[in-house]
Symmetry: C2
Subunit: 253 residues, 2 copies
């Protein structure tokens, strides 16, 4: 397919690379950030523009990969009649695009995408469209870059998925971050925890997390918990979370 990408951030860069790897042409990148757009255009042997009025009208699909906040600005005055257009935001209804084209939808990558990734990760795609043409084209595009994980998901389902993604990615990363902080302050080497972090995540392929729960909280090992709370007096933010998550684990059993 011939694709125009609108946006030049993390999602734009990684999805663009996946499109190129799948044999599509990115015929143009539009972004208000001219430097970032130029760089991606160079990488993809494409063109870039930072004028909305010069957006190429000959693509099959227009993908708007910008932050939620920027969506309204970017779509304002944008008219692409007859074209299939989609945004990549989990929590924004597809109707935000209804004045841009009569074929509008969503192409939501459930993955943490960063421009500086050296390898392209698996990216499950949740697509939606207001009509069959849009759905078909976005589904086809999704299958071309995602090995198996392509699911139709309306606005409600995407919003629900996003909550789960926040929990298993943003919140989990915050726990990693607090642990890193704690290790630095206590003279420990956070990197020594990486094998355990990987095992805890990796075993989910074969094991339900409920079955895999171990540790002092689920054992109701109050002696160890008390020792830990004593140590955490110097780390009030982590201590607060230790108490709440210990209670929550004990409540869940």
């Amino acid at each position: 397919m011939d694709i125009v990408i609108i946006g030049s951030g993390n999602a734009a860069a990684v999805l663009g690379r996946k499109f190129i790897a799948a044999g599509h042409d990115i015929i143009q990148i539009y972004s208000r950030n001219a430097a970032a757009a130029t760089e991606l255009a160079y990488e993809w042997n494409s063109e870039s523009t930072n004028y909305k009025s010069t957006i190429n009208k000959n693509a099959d699909v227009y993908l708007i990969a910008v932050t939620d906040d920027a969506l309204e600005d970017v779509t304002d005055q944008l008219k692409l009649p007859g074209k299939v257009i989609a945004h990549t935001a989990a929590s924004v209804p597809k109707e935000i695009l209804k004045n841009v084209s009569e074929h509008y939808g969503v192409f939501y990558p459930l993955q943490s995408l960063r421009k500086d990734m050296t390898t392209l990760p698996d990216v499950p795609i949740f697509f939606d469209g207001n009509d069959a043409k849009t759905k078909n084209m976005l589904e086809q595009l999704a299958h071309s870059i995602s090995a198996g994980q392509v699911v139709e998901a309306g606005d409600d389902a995407r919003l629900k998925l996003h909550v789960a993604a926040v929990v298993i990615s943003n919140f989990v990363n915050h726990l990693y971050s607090l642990a890193e902080d704690y290790c630095r302050k206590e003279g420990l080497n956070f990197k020594q925890l990486l094998p355990l972090i990987e095992e805890t995540a990796g075993r989910l392929k074969n094991t339900s997390p409920k079955q895999a729960q171990t540790g002092p909280a689920i054992r109701h090992d109050s002696e160890t918990i008390q020792k830990h709370l004593e140590l955490l007096k110097a780390h009030p933010q982590l201590k607060n979370i230790y108490v709440l998550l210990t209670e929550s684990i004990q409540q869940a059993t």
Copy 2:
């Protein structure tokens, strides 16, 4: 080395397999659970016993891999003079072994070990000993099964490490578990989150979690947070944690 393993649970089984793979001999397994001990003895072409009095006195190292609670029971009346003896518990001082032998220490694997693992994970080992002979032997044993991650760590350092391990493994797993629960109740497929879970854990090799923090909380995107809290009304336990971790992320910035 000739090794006697005391215990027949998850840590005993996985460490034992690592010892065998490294060319050591496990000359005996002692456990109160005769069936489990027999099974491991069969796997390792070893012997098993469930009588403390018949523990083989000819090994180089005795490794006590039992739960914290069972340690006192197991070591009661146990006498192995002149032998190197170590337990595998993070949070228990090495002195619990001082009446068993004059050479006592700790051999703490910082990893989640399960008997049913099909591949043996990387296992950083934190060792300690009351004298040079014990330390040397345990360090040598550790290097034989652990690629690079072998660190001397006294009782205090191990206790501190254990707190970090609880945070990045037990607490993280609890978040996975709550998300799985939420997905089931909302008709979503938890497995579709696995690529994001893996990426969030895997990127720590190259990226500090502090740099990698994304999501509505750190963006102070209160519109999205409100939508999520609305959805979480039906999931009070998860909602509680959503609120606390969102606050904690915003506090950390």
